[in-house]
Structures are given as structure tokens and as C-alpha cells.
Amino acid sequence: MQHACDNWFVAFFEGALIMLIMVRIIKSMRGSIPFIRRIPGLNAIDEAIGRATEMGKPILMIPGILGLDIVSLQALNVFTHVTRTAARFATPIRMCVCDATLYTISQEVIQDAYQAEGKPELYDPDSVRFLSDQQFAFAASVAGLIQREQVAATFFLGSFFAESLIFAEVANSVGAIQVAGTVMTTQTPFFIAACDYVIIGDEFYAASAYLSKEPVATGSLVGQDYAKLLLTFFIVLGSIIYTVTGYAGGPHVPLIHTLFADGGWTALLHSIRHLF
């Protein structure tokens, strides 16, 4: 589907999902702060910071190894929270960035976080580092940094690939307490095996909304829930229609099958015309 007109039905469906999200955001911006379930991994964040403070060793944060995108921006939101908490206890932080554009934003975000806590003098420009934009060069150098500085807590939040286990195991070998969260389902099992707390899939967005308590983020999270409900409804509906019509790839195609494919809109119009 390259364009909306390939299948207007799908475009409208997406529009409905967007509307659901937007309505909840607007509602929440007007003051009705919705309820959000606390996810277990969140307690671990404060626990990890506390541990690093006790030991007087630095906290390491990595916002994934992709460039400036939606996932890494979300990770930076969580890291703002971490930095502010760390600033309160004057715990040193390290942040390693894999992309030059993300690096500029990260630097500002961290500086702002110190400012917001009223401790701008604690900010060390060398605490945010651009290491490399090549995957394994970055991994090698993060591994070196973890071992040299003996970090006490690590936060790996963002998009990770094969290098995930290098980070997690090296950090484990220096005894760091680790919180990891990624939207990459292929790397989640490795984090589950090596880290203390793992934020799985969607919880990643929820964590940031919960921590920031921003009306926009929380409202959006509720909207996403409604959108998910709509998706589930359609999947169940489709399966019911398949079961009733006995369809599983045969010649008599139920409408719902074609609706989601190219040309679905035409099929819908055709069947409506057929009714009258």
C-alpha cells in the first residue's frame, strides 16, 4: 500500500485509530488525567539509581543504536527522569550515543535536566559521548567503558540489535544492576536472560508516559489502548466471519478478507451496490 487511494477503507481505518488517539490526548490536555497501571519495571529504575548512589559509581544510559527517531526520542524522555533523580543525589552519569544528530539533542536534554533540578554546575559535557556510528565499534567501546568505569547501574532503552548481549553481559560481569527496554522483539529474550528488569514491547511507551506524567503522553497511551481494542475487535470479527462462512482460502471470499487488501474499497462499494 503505497498510497491511501490504493485502499480507502484502510486509510479510513487508520484515520479512526488516529482519531481515537487524538480525542484522548485532547481530553487529557483539558485536565482529565487518566488512570495508568504502574508497570513493574519502573520501580527498578529508582532502585538502580539508588544503588549507584550508594556505591558512588556512575550510571550508564544508552538510547539504542539507531539515529534520531521516535524510539530514541522516547528513550530520552525516560533518561531525563533518570538524570534528574541522579542529579538530586549528585550521582555521576554517562551516556553513550551512536548517532551524531541524536548526540546534539542528548547533550541538551541532559544539560536541561541538571538545570531543572537547580544543579547546572554538576553537568559535565564529557558525560554525554558520541562514540561511533558503526555498530560493533560502538559496542566495543561501550564494553570498554563499562569495565573501566565499573558502572553501578545501566539503562539500555531504545532500538538494539545483535550488540544487546555484549552490553548486558559485560555490565553483568562488573555487577551492575540493569534495566533494559526495547521495542525490538528479537532482542528482548537476550535482555530477559541477562538483565535484572526488562521492559517489554509496548511497556516502553507506557514507562515514559508514566514517568513524565505529561497529559499528552498519558492521554495518548489511553488512546493507544482504545486503538488496540479496535484492532482486537476486528481480528475477532474477521475470525468469526471466517468460521461462519467456512472460509480459509477458498473461492468464496468474505468481504472482510478483501477489505484489508489492495482494492478493498472497490469490493466494499461493489457489495453495497449488490445489496440494492
Binding site: 498510497h3 487511494c5 522516547q74 551524531a100 536534554v109 559521548r129 550488540e163 509496548d202 513524565s212
Partner: protein
């Protein structure tokens, strides 16, 4: 894009001078911009640039001949490969200097101030420089002696690529220690994770040997390890991961929407 061209000759330098002049004026104006206008300016910019792809997707199309194939296009489609993609790529490439600058600044300071580990920093600077010199020299179409190619070949194929492969293969060691340490049947969850990992692992390797005597037809085939491993992958793993992906995708959609409309508070627009 013929109308983009200007006359031959040195006029290009004139154009460059003009562009730089305008740049300085614009930046000078931006520094005088009142604090309250910054956020609106950024919001407008993000909305306009996002609008391009949104419109390209939502506007109706007509069929156009491209490489002999009929493809649906609207008036924005052609701009993606010709303008927007190169623009985004060029801009990102030009921003690479930001990271490089900070990397080199940090290690240069290490060397100058003789901080501990300055030898390593020196090695980093030397290797960056030599890779750049020989890389450009060897890849440029200029005439160059053969030994330049050979040095580049040693730096890239001999050292860099092998280090890449070595780092990649380190993961295997870590998998071993992680599975020794983490796959203890402490909880129900850990044990199901471990069991399914083992079944799939066996199904891919020598697991077939264990159930080799079981016929691979009819009901019997259900007792072969390969069957179990592909069953787990297709019937449990794939819908489970699909459900996670739905959530992640919706989260991305919502976040993209928030950024596009400039209502996101966090990193990008924070004051």
C-alpha cells in the same frame, strides 16, 4: 530539473557566496528571536516537513510510466527520490561532523593534557586520520600509486573488518554465560522460556537425530522434534510477537502524530 541549472563557469562560487551571506543574515536574525517564538517556529518547521510525506500518502494518484512500469503517482511522489531523500541523506551526512568533532576534541584534549590513557587517544586520532587519508586517496578517481590501495586494503580488510567479525563473534561467549546463569528454573516463566529455547535449538541442530526413528508422515510426525520446533515458531511465537508489534506500532503512530503536531513536550521541543 533543468531549470535548476545556472550558467556555466565560476558563477557557482558566486552562488555559494550568496548562500553563505543569506545564511549569516538568517542566523543573525535567529539569535535575536524572542524566547517565546522559538517553540512555535520549531513546531511550524516540523509540521511542514512532516506534511510532505503525509500529503504524498493521502492525496489521490494517477498512473505514470516509470522504467516502463505503470506506477501510481501524485505530484509529490517524484520529489521523494529526486529531492527529499537526497536532502535528508545529505543533511545527515553533513551532521556526521558533529559527532566526529566531539570525539576528536575529547581525545585531542586527552593527548594534549596527557591524561591517563592518552596513548590510546593518540592511537585513535592516528587511526582516524590514516583511514580518512587512505580512504579518500584510494577511493577517489584521481591517479594514485598502488601502495595506497594496499594500505587501505590492510586497514579496511585486514584490521577493521576482522575486528568487526571478532566483536560479532564475542556474542557467542556471552550467550553461553548468560544461558548458564539465567536459565535456572527459578520461576514458571523461566522454565517455559528455557524449554521452548531448547526445543527450537534441538530442532535446528542434532535434535533430528534423537527422533530419527520416528516416521515423518501421518500422526507419527507429531513426535519429531523438528515438528515441535516449527510448531512453536509458527503457532505460538509468531502471533505472540505480532501482538507485541501491534502495540509497538500503535505507540510509534501516536508518537509520530505528537511530534508532527508539535504537542510532544520531551526532548525535541523542551525549552
Amino acid at each position: 530539473m533543468h531549470n535548476w541549472e545556472i550558467a556555466q563557469g565560476n558563477t557557482i562560487w558566486l552562488a555559494l557566496a550568496g548562500v553563505l551571506l543569506v545564511t549569516f543574515i538568517v542566523i543573525g536574525l535567529l539569535t535575536k528571536l524572542p524566547l517565546t517564538l522559538r517553540r512555535p517556529l520549531l513546531s511550524v518547521l516540523v509540521f511542514v516537513s512532516g506534511l510532505f510525506y503525509a500529503l504524498e500518502y493521502f492525496l489521490p494518484t494517477h498512473m505514470v510510466l516509470d522504467h516502463g512500469v505503470l506506477v501510481p503517482e501524485n505530484f509529490l511522489t517524484d520529489l521523494i527520490p529526486n529531492i527529499i531523500n537526497p536532502l535528508a541523506q545529505d543533511l545527515s551526512a553533513l551532521l556526521f561532523g558533529l559527532g566526529l568533532f566531539s570525539l576528536i576534541r575529547m581525545h585531542f584534549n586527552n593527548v594534549v593534557r596527557q591524561r591517563s590513557g592518552w596513548v590510546n587517544s593518540l592511537a585513535l586520532l592516528v587511526s582516524t586520520l590514516s583511514m580518512m587519508v587512505f580512504g579518500f586517496w584510494s577511493r577517489a578517481n584521481l591517479h594514485h600509486p598502488q601502495w595506497v590501495d594496499q594500505v587501505y586494503h590492510h586497514l579496511f580488510d585486514g584490521v577493521y573488518q576482522n575486528m568487526d567479525a571478532a566483536m560479532f563473534s564475542l556474542i557467542a561467549f556471552f550467550i553461553l554465560s548468560a544461558s548458564y546463569r539465567a536459565f535456572r528454573i527459578r520461576s514458571f516463566e523461566a522454565s517455559i522460556l528455557m524449554t521452548s529455547a531448547l526445543i527450537v535449538l534441538l530442532g535446528l541442530s542434532f535434535g533430528g537425530l534423537i527422533t530419527d526413528k520416528v516416521p515423518d508422515y501421518g500422526l507419527w510426525s507429531n513426535f519429531r522434534i523438528e515438528t515441535w520446533s516449527s510448531w512453536i515458531l509458527n503457532i505460538i511465537s509468531s502471533p505472540g510477537l505480532r501482538a507485541i508489534d501491534f502495540g509497538v506500532g500503535l505507540g510509534g503512530l501516536a508518537m509520530g502524530l505528537r511530534i508532527w503536531l508539535g504537542i510532544e513536550k520531551g526532548a525535541l521541543f523542551g525549552d
